[in-house]
Amino acid sequence: MTMIYALPFAALCSGIIMILLLDLFSERRLSWVSTLLSVGTCVVTWVCQISFYMLSDKAFGGLATVDAFSFVLNTVILGSGVCALLLNSGNYGPQRIEGHAADLDVLTLLTLAGAMIMVSSTNLMMLFLGLELLSLSLYVLAGCARDERSSAEAAVKYFLFGSFSSAFFLFGIVFIYASTGSISLVGFSQPGMSASQPLLLIGLGLLIFGFAFKLSLVPFHVWAPDVYQGTPVSLVALMATVVKAAAFGALLRLVAGAYLGSTNLVLSNSLAALSVLSMTIGNILALKQKSVKRLLAYSSIAHAGYALMGAVVATSVGIEATLFYMFAYATMTIAAFGVVLIVTAGSPFQYDQDDISSLDGLGWRSPLLAFAFSLALLSLAGFPPLIGFFGKFYLFEAVIGSGRAWLAVIAALNSLIGIYYYFNLLVRMYFREPEATAATPGKTIPSQIAVTLATILLFACGLFIDQLRGVSRQAAISLAVKKPVLSNKY
């Protein structure tokens, strides 16, 4: 029976191998074939795990679990992956390594595989495995534009910071094993366990460091703006969405299992501090940015801060809210980065020089593109009836419902700062006249499909909020019914 649970991963890995082999044995550049195959792989993977929505069961001998929670996050991850693959297709200059078009797609799929492992694992080593798979693929992807200095810089920075944080993560696992005797992610909820053991706290703290790095929370965010700016835009979309979804998935599992006794307050307060710092500093630092990609990087930091509020309260509503926000955030980010890709692809502003002025007058040059970007920006700012508003609303509901209204007030004030710089981009697009020398956007069909899909989701979801909330609730419930594994020998 448990073999069925391996089916999605099997599908994903078969797809990876198939694409690699195809690439090895074909002479011509078949970039659209590899895109098609990789998108197909993602679709098949998703189909394989539809049935998991109703389940809540252990897999791989207790190392992982299949439940609605992992289904929801896998959907977000695979969906973002598909959009990233679409954005990445086509020839965008030096990104495509000569004659090996499929490498980037394979690495993307490996990233997705790592992310999927992360959200399904209930064992810390399994989690680490997924984390490393995700990270290593992304390190390579960050540096894939081999002719660009900033891309190499991004890769090295990401690799160095990432390795440090993985080391801390491992160290944290060691401490947790030393204090509880198990490396189960949900094994903290054993009754009778004293939660104030110093080793346990240190271990949890180190784990949180690792997560905070991946989520680019302040003060572990320093790598994010440079890496986001140096990486080719289509891959930043992958980084910004998939990594956060995976890391939040693992963090929520940890938090749901570890809120016990006095660990409760320490964990919750430290997460609250991270959340407040990220929201505030992320938004403030975004105010002065002249580069669109850096601005979006800082705004991602702020949004990670907002989403963390749900983990701070860790009630069922909190977990639902963070899950919903992951979906909302993925939609908005893909739309935003997709438009940035299209706008910058046709111009010399591609890597270091993606100045805000490339957006000048976009509203009158390419109205549809600007409209999509406007919707994405308004959604990021939290304007109703777009999905970003409902995400924030859900988070406020979770936070206020558990008595932390001050957190909501801080988030509200930070949203105000966000409105300022998002609207500044709107100013650029609509209130300034286009330069005569402005480049025409480099549209390709797949990238347009990705942006259109994301944009439609942005406002169409206003009609389906109830269904989406129901899905989130089901996911949160499946998380809660986890029975503590008393003697986990792994």
């Binding site: 509901e397 209130f431 109830d466």
Partner: protein, 513 residues
Amino acid sequence: MGTFSLTSYTFPVLSILILLPILGAAILTLTDSKTARTFAVIAALTEFLLSLVLAVNFNPAQSGMQFAELHRWIPSLGITYIIGIDGLSLGLVVLTTLLIFLALAASTGITKRIRAFCALMLLLESGVIGAFVSLDLVLFYLFWELMLVPMYFLIGVWGGERRIYAALKFVLFTAFGSLLMLVAIVYLGTKHGVDFSSSSFFLGDLQHLQLSRTEELYLFAAFALAFAIKVPVFPLHTWLPDAHTEAPTGGSVILAGVLLKLGLYGLIRFCIPLFPRAVIETQFLFALLGVVGIVYGALMAWVQTDMKRLVAYSSVSHLGFCVLGYASLNFEGLQGCVLQMFNHGISTGALFLLVGVLYDRKHTREIRDYSGLAVQIPIFCAVYLAFTLSSIALPLTNGFIGEFLVLYGGFKYNVALAAVAVSGVILGAVYMLSLYRRICFGPTMQERDSHALPDLTMREGLVFATMLLFVAFIGLHPMPFLTRQESASRSTLATISSHAAATYSQLEGELPR
């Protein structure tokens, strides 16, 4: 805690009023620039006629919400699509449709990107009407925030030189208040979920909440801040002069005529039923701020050299009267406040349109560039005089009825404050008539281009004639308006009086005797 009655009508008039402009805006994208304005004017006219149908079918004798509609939207959160109209919002909805129609008809000065302009005006109309008829807090918030975006674009794309600064200031000020209001709204909804086992954002349900004194004061503060920024109440008014001056004519008309009323509407519709004790406790503060606004606005208007800025400050002054009317919390004051909101919309809207006419002719808004217009463009000056007198509240104009009622209610509440407010009437006459004297009388200016200034065109004349109708009608026969507002005012005051009794008895218990 009054009961909340809803009366439905078979035909979903209110939903159509909200959706029709959106549909119009969508169709506008398909038209070309030449026919865009005509189409938009026709759409706005249809909307206005529909709102007149609504007004005619409104039953003044019935209390509670009429033309109500209820649909499930997000049941798990308790957010329902529930809308309805009563005496308070009826006048405002009619005012909105009227002003949008007139603003579109008069916006001949817009030459570039006409389609986008008209589409944004129509979207704005949708948002504003939606805000006026929403009875669910989240739905209200949705429309409230939604209005910001078209207004931002209207100021920022078609406005004056400092338009980007003005537009951003407008958005940030308003968003600051409304984000805090969002936190308060979520708090109310979740509290309802805790107390009554199902969260709800419907105004009728939330009225039954029992709030502690601190809770009520904080929540009222959040709501009142958002509304006070919009009104604007002194000292939160600093966004207004910039936004009004830099906006295009049509935008200023809507901003002054309609958007500002949303603040007062919110105070009466939401704050009084939800936080009556807090309203009573802050009554003096609001009355004081209203009176300060009256005098401050008038004094600032007196020293302006830019005509549009003068009219903008006069808005602050006139809405100070409305705030006084609201804060006096008695029948006359409330009636005066609601009627004066309508009157102010008409008269200030007309004043902005008149300034716009002058700007279209000579491309300057400085007062010193105009003199002796009475000789050159007499019809314009006659119309201008009429609206000046309406603004000053001369008896037989609409302004007189509103201001008189407000002052009557103000005197009933606090004689000292009302006496200071009366000085605002004098000051209003001072700056308005002084402006009139400077631009219309006096020596005629040598026209540099040596061709005469054209008088009002037929189109402009019709626009002003429509507004003059209202000025005269309300001034001579205000009862149809007042009777329609009456039941809403009475039920609002019923909430206050039931809590006033409780508060005073509380105070008596606390005070040492």
